[in-house]
């Protein structure tokens, strides 16, 4: 005979698996620190690529000024400025990224906890079914 309560719990679990679960369960494979660190690294790589592209556009945009500075042996000043801006951007992005990924992991972790609670309920139903079958035997 069908156990309506068990079906209800199972549907709840499968709905979660279909939507948020796909991402949450992947995230939950990492430890908290690992997840944040890996994503901050990705963030840093992305930012560096984007910054290089911006510098490229800026170089084309201010080509004459840069050429003049290099001719006047002021290339190091320009490089120092560029590096300063880059470091500032890295600090801002790392801080923002840290807050974002911590929040992301924690909210995923909460949902996964709820999901495991649902799984425990389903397990209890399975155990009860097994007992009934053993008694019948």
């Amino acid at each position: 005979m069908l156990n309506k309560e068990k079906i209800r719990w199972m549907s709840r679990a499968s709905i979660y698996e279909k939507h948020e679960g796909r991402i949450d369960l992947k995230r939950n494979k990492y430890f908290f620190g690992d997840y944040v660190r890996i994503n901050l690294l990705k963030n840093l790589i992305g930012l560096t690529v984007a910054y290089l592209l911006i510098v490229g556009i800026y170089a084309v945009y201010h080509f004459e000024e840069i050429f003049m500075m290099m001719a006047n042996m002021q290339a190091m000043v320009l490089v120092r400025e560029m590096l300063l801006i880059y470091v500032l951007l890295v600090i801002i992005y790392t801080a923002a990224g840290l807050a974002y990924y911590v929040w992301q992991y924690q909210s995923s972790h909460k949902r996964v906890k709820k999901y495991y609670r649902i799984l425990r309920h389903i397990e209890k139903f399975d155990e009860a079914d097994d007992k009934v079958q053993e008694e019948k035997k």
Binding site: L47, V49, I57, V60
Partner: protein, 428 residues
């Protein structure tokens, strides 16, 4: 209100039943609009500038995740630009990559906002986005909204710059520098982008902050205040930056956003604030202050089941009488063509007289019904009293019969005894 709730529940039920198909259809229509916009704005590549290709692309985008759809749209834009000018296409590609790496990577679920802005900008309705996005997305939705406006403006200036760089594979470093100069100065000088950025940020922030409170109708209040703040912010920014803003578009966009957000909010969740309850309880770790507001659902308006003991006849009779009267009225009016049509006030008085008559007739019918019911009750009582008396007489008769039987039996036994004594005497 009851009808609205019932209608809402029906729509929600249907939507839930066919959720997948509705989502696919909505995505398909939305993406078709996006591709049609891209083709109307750029349209330099003939194969992509074709209705069937657009339908096919929209179909593909309707079954893949939204974040991938953005990549397809970006690819289509870059391909169009490549057909126009390779240099400008590379510039577009670089700008798209920068936007993605720096901002859009953090908003994979807000592609709707990014794609809706360019489509709505065609009709100057992009000011509805901050109100709707403030209600249904996180405050970070401001970034894709601004990115959408920026991309539209950037593509406009880039395509205009083709006159500087030259079409196709033309490569003139000086021309490229000039083009870049022109594009960047135009984009940075475009006050509409700045105004939209400020207005969207303020609107989304106000809506988000108000929604953190827990007073009654907070959702609808946040939408209303957000729309008002949006218009005010646009007015202030427009006057401060002395920009030529289309204020009817801003007000229209805010109003439309308000209506759409309110409808979507109502469809998403409607609660009955009159039934709210404040609960307080505690466990080992916490003390809880809970505000519970019941959801409005059509089940709460379902009619109570009529008990079998209630008299049904008068109601039926009332309905029948009303139906008969309404059926007779036009017939009677047709039968008397000589009757002059009265003026409006007379019509009202006539109607009231008709209603009064109907009411009187209905009252009479109910009275008759009651009398009949009382009579039937009385009859029942008399019948029961008759049966009681009959039963009594029957019991008396049966008693008499029993007595008679006993008497006759006694007589018979006496007779038998007498007979036996006589026979004994004769034998002796």
């Amino acid at each position: 209100m009851t009808q609205l709730i019932i209608m809402r529940d029906k729509i929600v039920r249907i939507m839930r039943e066919y959720e997948t198909w509705f989502l696919i259809a909505a995505k398909f229509i939305g993406m078709l609009f996006v591709f049609l916009y891209v083709n109307s704005a750029l349209g330099y590549f003939d194969i992509l500038n074709n209705t069937m290709t657009n339908v096919l692309l929209a179909l593909i985008c309707s079954i893949i995740p939204g974040s991938l759809s953005v990549f397809i749209v970006a690819a289509v834009i870059v391909v169009h630009m490549f057909n126009l000018s390779i240099v400008l296409a590379l510039l577009t590609l670089v700008v798209i990559i920068i936007l993605y790496l720096m901002f859009l990577r953090f908003a994979p679920n807000q592609t709707f906002v990014l794609l809706a802005v360019p489509v709505l900008m065609q009709w100057n309705l992009h000011y509805l986005i901050p109100v709707v996005a403030g209600v249904f997305f996180t405050p970070y939705a401001v970034v894709p909204a601004i990115a959408g406006v920026f991309m539209v403006k950037f593509l406009g200036y880039t395509t205009a710059a083709v006159s500087i760089t030259g079409e196709g594979a033309a490569f003139d470093p000086e021309a490229i520098m000039n083009a870049l100069n022109t594009i960047i100065s135009q984009v940075t000088a475009d006050k509409e982008i700045w105004i939209y950025a400020i207005v969207a940020a303020v609107t989304i922030a106000v809506i988000f902050i108000i929604r953190q409170f827990s007073f009654d109708y907070v959702w609808y209040v946040s939408i209303g205040v957000g729309a008002v703040v949006e218009v005010m912010a646009a007015l202030i920014c427009g006057s401060v930056l002395s920009a030529e803003l289309s204020f009817p578009a801003v007000i229209g966009g805010a109003l439309l956003g308000l209506i759409i957000a309110a409808i979507l909010q109502f469809m998403d969740c409607a609660v009955d604030y009159s039934q709210k309850e404040y609960l307080q309880f505690e466990d080992d770790k916490y003390y809880y202050y809970v505000k519970a507001i019941p959801k409005l659902e059509s089940d709460s308006f379902s009619q109570p089941v009529q008990s079998k003991s209630e008299p049904v006849q008068p109601l039926k009779a009332l309905k029948e009488a009303l139906a008969q009267k309404t059926a007779k009225q036009p017939k009677e009016a047709n039968q008397n063509p000589q009757s002059v049509q009265p003026v409006e006030s007379d019509q009202v008085t006539n109607k009231t007289i008709v209603f009064e008559k109907q009411a009187q007739e209905v009252k009479d019918i109910i009275q008759k019904q009651r009398e009949q019911a009382q009579e039937s009750k009385q009859e029942k009582e008399t019948i029961t009293s008759d049966t009681d008396s009959q039963e009594q007489t029957f019991s008396e008769d049966s008693q008499k019969e029993k007595n008679l039987q006993e008497a006759s039996e006694n007589e018979n036994t006496e007779q038998v005894v007498k007979d036996s004594e006589e026979t004994n005497e004769t034998e002796n």
